[in-house]
Amino acid sequence: MHVLIINGSPRVKQYSNTDKILEKFTEGLCENNTTYEQYEISDKNQWEDIRKAYYSNSNILIALPLYVECIPGLLMEFLETLSPKNDGTKIAYILQSGFAEGIQLRCGEAYLEKLTGFLGCEYAGTLVKGDNFSIRFFEGDMRDRVTGPYTEMGREYAANGGFNTDKCRAFTGYEILPAHMRLALGILQRTLARTMFARIARSWGCTKPLDYRPYQ
């Protein structure tokens, strides 16, 4: 099988969490002779090539970050230029997000199934997973801990041509975090996490408090 992979993130490849996820995912994908080509929506110079690849491939995987509960505006701008295929092409999706709970991604997931219909393609399922915000801030082992599990999902996709399996559905993890975790995380967010964010901000050259109000 050959797969067209489209990274639907508006963030440049170097900093894109989706890209780091795809790095691990494709390791698993390629183990049994599956091949792929990958493009980035963030690079408008690639759009013409992506369009050509969309029309000539029958297995498409769109990997994207959740942007305000649905697909990013830039990805929408690209998709608006496509015509429906109506030739049995399958589209599967990796939908990843910042917030950790599965419930946060369901509205976006529901759209992806509808979108597939508008493109005249067959829906091959969505791999749904949150808690990816920090990938760009991590390196080495810390990053691998977040992205590593996607390798197994690459194998699953290669074996099934999509994500409609129990294993892929279970990959989402908690739909809603249990009360004790919410309590602990709530405390962490008011304390340690703020210190960590402030540290990142300083290293980015930030000179204002993070809750600064520039327009008042």
Binding site: V68, E69, E77, E80, Y111, L177, A193, A201, C206, P214
Partner: protein, 168 residues
């Protein structure tokens, strides 16, 4: 204050809104955004971690952002694409990130960003074309949760009278 952002080039919609609103003694602030330069969000995170509250993309969106933080209601008029808001409509929502902070908290059982300002802005959508209305309603309610506000609903252009009746 009621803020209306028209991302379509059809000004007959805003004309009708203004007329109907005037009949109710309301004077919404209307921004015709079709001719404005408004890019997509590039996901740089600067508005959270480098220049808190300020978007790094320097274009006309700043005009909207400065008004949103004083608005009780934000109405976005959008064209439809692939059953959803087209990219121009969606970009208005994606670019709103600076009104949230990097900080996180739980609201009921789900995680949210801590808002940057006191103002809460309810959101309403007026759509041209034929969107998947049920889906848009669902999306609009989710999107509003993120701004700690309410969805005022999604209306086709044939229901402008109803939309205006929700303005206050």
């Amino acid at each position: 204050m009621i803020l209306i952002v028209n991302t379509t080039s059809d000004t007959s919609v805003t004309k009708e809104i203004k007329e109907r609103a005037a009949g109710l003694g309301l004077e919404p602030e209307v921004i015709e955004a079709a001719g404005m330069k408004i890019s997509h969000c590039i996901g740089c995170n600067y508005c959270w971690l480098k220049t808190p509250g300020v978007c790094s993309v320097k274009d006309d969106y700043e005009i909207i952002l400065k008004k949103v933080i004083h608005a009780d209601q934000l109405w976005v008029i959008s064209d439809t694409a692939l059953g959803f808001l087209d990219h121009k409509g969606k970009n208005i929502f994606d670019r709103i990130l600076p009104i949230a902070t990097m900080y996180l908290k739980f609201v009921k059982d789900q995680m949210r960003h801590v808002p940057r300002y006191e103002q809460r802005t309810d959101i309403g959508i007026i759509c041209r074309g034929e969107p998947d209305m049920d889906y848009l309603q669902r999306w609009s309610e989710r999107a509003a949760l993120n701004f700690e506000s309410r969805s005022l609903g999604v209306f086709g252009t044939e229901r402008i009278k109803e939309a205006v009746s929700c303005m206050c």
